[in-house]
């Protein structure tokens, strides 16, 4: 399966253009509005972070390619608001709007610092015990696809699928995005940082000693 958002290792994107640290945080005013409206809507509790990432990934490929960064955010937000019934297509199209039953949950300015400070921790005191120990050699799933939902969300990039690496550290038990993105529950699992030699991932690695580390859930891995 190829998905446009899964672009690690892709050729042809041209140079990276550095930007001064003193430049504007939001080069266009609407960028800041796009980020803020997305965060404010997120606080309504209608979806989780995995659902919102998946909403951007499942923009149709033509839109994903031509949209700039915050256009993806706003378009995915409109899709999520409609899917959850918070707004209707007619309202999006400019039709008459009605006050939402959820309006009493809207994020107010005084609550912003607390909401940002709280964040949304992904660790859980639940789930299976770790199967792998630091230093152990493991292999990732061959297909970089969700096994729960066809075409669903996963965090195993294609470039690291079917690859052999070594457990570098255990992060604890974390929400499984493949499940949470489809409202199938947190399904927490041990999460590991796994190191892959560049020579394992690429036909012509830049340097023999370089490596790439990915955070991968236990169900993505098998003993090697």
């Amino acid at each position: 399966m190829t998905r446009l958002h899964d672009m690690g290792g892709r050729f042809g994107d041209g140079p990276v253009i550095p930007e001064a640290e003193t430049g504007p945080v939001f080069p266009e005013d609407w960028h800041g509005r796009a980020l803020a409206v997305t965060l404010a809507c997120g606080s309504l509790g209608l979806w989780n972070i995995d659902i919102s990432r998946h909403a951007r990934e499942k923009l149709n490929p033509k839109d994903y390619s031509r949209f700039t960064y915050y256009e993806k955010w706003v378009s995915a937000l409109a899709d999520l608001l409609t899917e959850t019934g918070a707004v209707t297509r007619d309202e999006l199209a400019g039709g008459a709007s009605v006050r939402a039953p959820l309006a009493d949950k809207a994020l107010t300015a005084d609550k912003v610092p607390g909401v940002l400070a709280a964040g949304g921790p992904a660790d859980r005191d639940a789930g299976p015990a770790p199967c792998f120990s630091v230093g152990q050699v493991v292999r990732t799933r061959r297909a970089a696809e969700s096994i729960l939902v066809n075409g669903g969300h996963t965090r195993l990039p294609a470039y690291a699928a079917g690859a052999t690496g070594r457990i570098l550290r255990l992060h604890g038990s974390h929400v499984l995005p493949d499940s949470a993105a489809h409202s199938l529950g947190d399904a927490p699992e041990p999460l590991y940082a796994v190191a892959f030699a560049a020579s394992e991932l690429w036909a012509n690695p830049e340097h023999p000693n370089d490596d790439v580390i990915l955070d991968l859930w236990q169900s993505y891995l098998a003993p090697a």
Binding site: M7, E21, G32, S75, V87, A122
Partner: protein, 215 residues
């Protein structure tokens, strides 16, 4: 009931996607959505202003620079960062959204660390703020894992051949902060003077700290 002005006759997007009902011009698209959501009572424009002010003026890479400067100055703090970076960073008053699970990766003469998110744009907001455009660009996401040294060269950084590059792809909710090597010639510098040498890019791993002569 409120009747709003616009209707979008131009359906550029796939018609089965709800977002295609919004205006296609990005600034108008955001404005239309914000207006609708305000009418419905789902957002408060003042809360949006507060979020923007937070990331324009309060939360940014100077937070991370303070963490790095303290780690360079205080061995006990460095040890706490290694043991539990989230807690050690919280000591400095930084934490929360997109920094819930922090790990600090230390550069050494043997290893240079560099952070990317190939699948989206994961980034440690409480210590670095909102990611710069290049971090979110297709070019960086595509190339940082395959050819980090070529990408570093585009930032003006050339590493010695004996130093390995370790690229961290942020595929989960763990957020990585690079701890650069303290520049030479900074003996006796206080944390404020040290923090001034710590650039945003040096904490992502696409740059190195400034040398004292450069400031």
């Amino acid at each position: 009931m409120t009747q709003r002005a616009h209707r979008n006759p131009m359906q550029h997007d796939a018609p089965d996607h709800p977002h295609s009902h919004l205006p296609s011009e990005p600034a108008l698209r955001v404005k239309a959505l914000e207006t609708l959501l305000t009418e419905k009572g789902l957002i408060d424009p003042a809360a949006l202003d507060e979020i923007i002010d937070t990331y324009e003026n309060k939360v940014g890479p100077r937070n991370g620079a303070a963490v790095v400067a303290r780690a360079w100055s205080d061995p006990a703090y460095l040890q706490r960062l290694r043991d539990d970076a989230t807690a050690a960073i919280a000591e400095m008053g930084f934490g929360g959204r997109q920094g819930e699970h922090m790990v600090v990766v230390e550069n050494t003469p043997e290893t240079h660390n560099m952070v990317v998110c190939t699948l989206c744009s994961c980034y440690p907001w409480p210590v670095l703020g909102i990611p710069p455009g290049w971090y979110k660009s297709d070019a960086y996401r595509a190339r940082a894992v395959r050819e980090p040294r070529k990408v570093l060269a585009e930032f003006g950084v050339t590493l010695p051949d004996g130093q390995a590059v370790r690229v961290w792809d942020s595929t989960a909710e763990v957020r990585y902060l690079v701890l650069p090597v303290r520049p030479e010639g900074t003996e006796g510098f206080d944390t404020e003077a040290l923090a001034a040498l710590v650039t945003r890019d040096s904490m992502i791993g696409t740059g190195l700290p400034l040398s004292p002569e450069a400031t």
